[in-house]
Amino acid sequence: MTAPLLRVEGVTLQYETPQRLIRAAYQVTFEVLRSDRFVILGPSGCGKSTILKAVGGYVQPVEGRILLDGRQVQGPGPDRVFVFQEFDQLLPWKTIRDNIVFALMAGKHLQRAEAVDRAMHFLKKVNLTDFASSHPHNLSGGMKQRVAIARALAMEPQMLLMDEPFAALDALTRVRMQEELLELWNDTKSTILFVTHSIPEAIRIGNRILLLSAHPGQVRAELNSGASSAHDSAGKELASRIEGILFDHKDGDFHAGAS
């Protein structure tokens, strides 16, 4: 048994609005192993995005600690690359290729030639070679997300942090993107920490699912998922178990979401 890549130990997260102090997550503990597809699932307001931001180093916990490969997370860095939900995460002033090249040169200090080679390699993986010299505004939402994923993979981080990356896509594109992500994972076996509010997406993507309750976010359960789809029998059973756990709880504010 190898040591876990990420340990989140009793982490409490708070953020301030002008009116008050909001506790987003309370004493959350979990471990992520190498090559895990670890999904954090919960209703809106369960602090799942804030937990991901804390792992990313954008938010400091007020209690507990976050260890990546044994070292405490201090701030944002290229060893944990984010894929956001928003389509504007690509730099609009750079072409698709240069978006990846810039990330590699700034984040990994690669030479330009090497960065270009690697960018093209990963663009090929997400089938966007033809768009290498386009600017992001010429691409559809799904294509932009694919570029963001290619950029994240090209940086070969220790961990990929995905914050509902497919939530703003239409249902059909979303299913295709989930498939593509799994294929890419088969290729690279990267460690993925994936946040979603969709039960079917969690079942499809994850091999391990962390269930959170809301206001503030607390761990309700940690489940294994062997199912490849929410529609086969194992998936249906898992989905009803998850619903049972979440809806038993006091909050009803849950969006099952599409696919």
């Binding site: 990313g56 954008y58 701030g75 944002p76 860095g77 290229p78 944990r80 690359v81 984010f82 956001f84 928003e86 504007d88 995460q89 730099l91 609009p92 002033w93 810039f102 990330a103 700034a106 984040g107 600017h135 992001p136 505004h137 010429n138």
Partner: protein, 284 residues
């Protein structure tokens, strides 16, 4: 409900996505912004010519052709090129210094909170103050000459550029900021690689407004006094011709001011806009 059968169709292989269509000459002309504007200018020139001939008072209102002849003569004699060159050199000096100061102030405003307060307070105080109103003070401090002009030019450029850049920086989306920090960029790298390009639409607006302010301020200041060390700028040229009642020359001077303004707007700023914010899809 009547019974309706389900239907299935074959997808055509040769239904191309792009359908060609012949563009009529009129559409081609109307789609060209530069051509449209040239026609407008032509119409204005004809109207001017017609009105001046109707008025028939060349000493007060010269016709378009008389103005063009006066302009041609002044260009041949070298009076207007010298005056324009002197104005432009001075303008560039003032503009550059203004930009440098604006960069400094904005960088300060972006790194510290008190810097931001400083910039916001100063802009609120000085931006509405017409530069030309500072000229008397500048003359007392620096005497009649280039230094005074550069002082008022800096004032004309600084605030609009700083204000727009600062607003642009604050408008850069949180996602882009997080992406920049994800790459582990240094503060300087973050400003030059993320904030400046991200805020470029606003920065460009600031540059344009600053240029226009500087241009009108300089012409006005030169009208008050020419630059003594050089040949005297366009404002001085206009003022001198007014004194000897050479109205066509005054018109020629004004026309030069307008033409240079159009040239900078259409050649420099439009090109910059096309190559940056329009290509990046940040502005339509």
């Amino acid at each position: 409900m009547p019974e309706r059968p389900e239907t299935f169709h074959q997808i055509s292989e040769n239904a191309f996505e792009v359908i060609e269509r012949r563009v009529s000459p009129w559409e081609r002309f109307y789609g060209n912004a530069a051509l449209r504007k040239i026609v407008l200018l032509f119409v204005l020139a004809v109207a001017w010519e017609a009105y001046a001939r109707f008025l028939h008072n060349p000493h007060l209102f010269p016709s378009f052709l008389e103005t063009v002849r006066a302009l041609d003569a002044s260009i041949r004699s070298g009076a207007i090129p010298r005056a324009a060159a002197s104005t432009i050199v001075l303008l560039l000096e003032g503009y550059t210094l203004g930009l440098l100061l604006a960069t400094l102030l904005t960088a300060l405003a972006n790194t510290t909170r008190i810097g931001a307060d400083f910039l916001e307070t100063l802009t609120a105080m000085f931006h509405p103050l017409p530069s030309i109103a500072l000229l008397p003070l500048a003359i007392i401090w620096f005497g009649i000459g280039e230094k005074s002009l550069i002082f008022v030019l800096i004032h004309a450029v600084l605030w609009s550029v700083a204000l727009n850049t600062h607003a642009g920086f604050r408008g850069v989306s949180p996602t882009l900021r997080m992406v920049g920090r994800n790459y582990g960029l240094s503060t300087a790298g973050f400003i030059t690689r993320i904030l400046i390009p991200g805020a470029f639409p606003s920065i460009l607006t600031g540059l344009k407004v600053g240029w226009a302010f500087a241009w009108r301020t300089l012409i006005a200041a030169e009208l008050v006094f020419g630059t003594t060390s050089r040949s005297g700028g366009l404002g001085r040229y206009i003022d001198e011709r007014k004194i000897v009642m050479k109205v066509p020359d005054v018109f020629a001077g004004l026309l030069t001011v307008i033409l240079l303004g159009l040239l900078v707007e259409n050649l420099i700023f439009k090109t910059l806009e096309r190559r940056t914010v329009q290509r990046w899809g940040m502005e339509q």
